[in-house]
């Protein structure tokens, strides 16, 4: 509980930074921080494996990918980087605040928690994953293959005279 009390504000601060920072690279780095803290949160809750996966995939792959994309798409001729439109803040908040209010009210109504820490035995996790959820695993595998090919096709240099 104490670790959750310490970690939660840190995660929120990092997430706030990711949303608020004007310079895109700062925002992306803070996103990486928020995701890493999230992984620590999972570890603190006893979901070791999920924490490690979160670390490897989100921090190691997704956040890095985002930072790289920002570096690639940075225009040299434009000094001011594209970040935020202040005018958009009002409609943005108009949409966000009701959602937040509803979520918070719902969250406050959850019943008291059971404090038995469930185990996360890796072997059993693997068994369930590859028996009960085998079709889903296959579907994800196909999806990831498609993504691999698709991303490679997108990223390929296209010749101007291609039809």
């Amino acid at each position: 509980m104490a670790s959750l009390l310490i970690l939660s504000p840190l995660v929120l601060l990092a997430a706030l930074g990711a949303v608020w920072m004007a310079r895109p690279v700062h925002a992306a780095l803070l996103l990486a921080l928020a995701l890493a803290l999230n992984a620590v949160l999972y570890l603190a809750m006893g979901a070791d494996f999920i924490g490690l996966v979160q670390f490897a995939v989100y921090v190691g792959a997704v956040a890095v990918l985002i930072v790289f994309s920002l570096l690639i798409t940075r225009q040299s001729d434009e000094t001011e980087e594209i970040a935020r439109r202040p005018k958009a803040l009002v409609p943005g908040l108009l949409c966000t605040l009701p959602v937040l209010a509803v979520l918070l009210i719902t969250a406050s109504k959850v019943p008291a928690a059971s404090d038995e820490a469930p185990a996360l035995p890796l072997k059993k996790l693997g068994e369930i994953l590859f028996t009960t959820h085998a079709p889903a695993v296959l579907a994800v595998a196909v999806l990831l293959t498609a993504v691999l090919i698709g991303a490679a096709l997108f990223a390929r240099e296209t010749k101007p005279n291609d039809p």
Partner: protein
């Protein structure tokens, strides 16, 4: 305070922050940042309910999170590939300038 409520509050605020980023950012990549935050908020809920909720023998929470992370990775890869492609064609990632859908 009960830990489940704490975690749900955390995820709610994180989700709202992600939504705010999606609605107000101009840079397409930063919108993706907002989407990642929203996905993470959902994942926190799954793990929180697995940990503090009623007993979950089939470990549905962690398994859902695993799938969610896999799909989020796919989404990020395709999303960024599309953004890079658009950038190559239009030399910008500013969504306000990418309005060729207008009627």
């Amino acid at each position: 305070m009960n830990p489940l409520a704490l975690l749900l509050t955390l995820s709610s605020v994180m989700f709202a922050l992600g939504l705010l980023a999606v609605l107000t950012r101009r840079n397409a990549i930063l919108i993706l940042v907002g989407i990642e935050l929203m996905l993470n908020a959902a994942n926190i809920n799954f793990i929180a309910f697995w940990r503090y909720g009623p007993p979950d023998l089939e470990m549905a929470g962690p398994i859902f999170v695993l799938f969610s992370i896999a799909i989020a990775a796919a989404e990020a890869a395709v999303g960024l590939a599309i953004i890079l492609m658009v950038f190559r064609l239009r030399r910008t990632t500013d969504l306000n300038q990418l309005d060729s859908l207008h009627g």
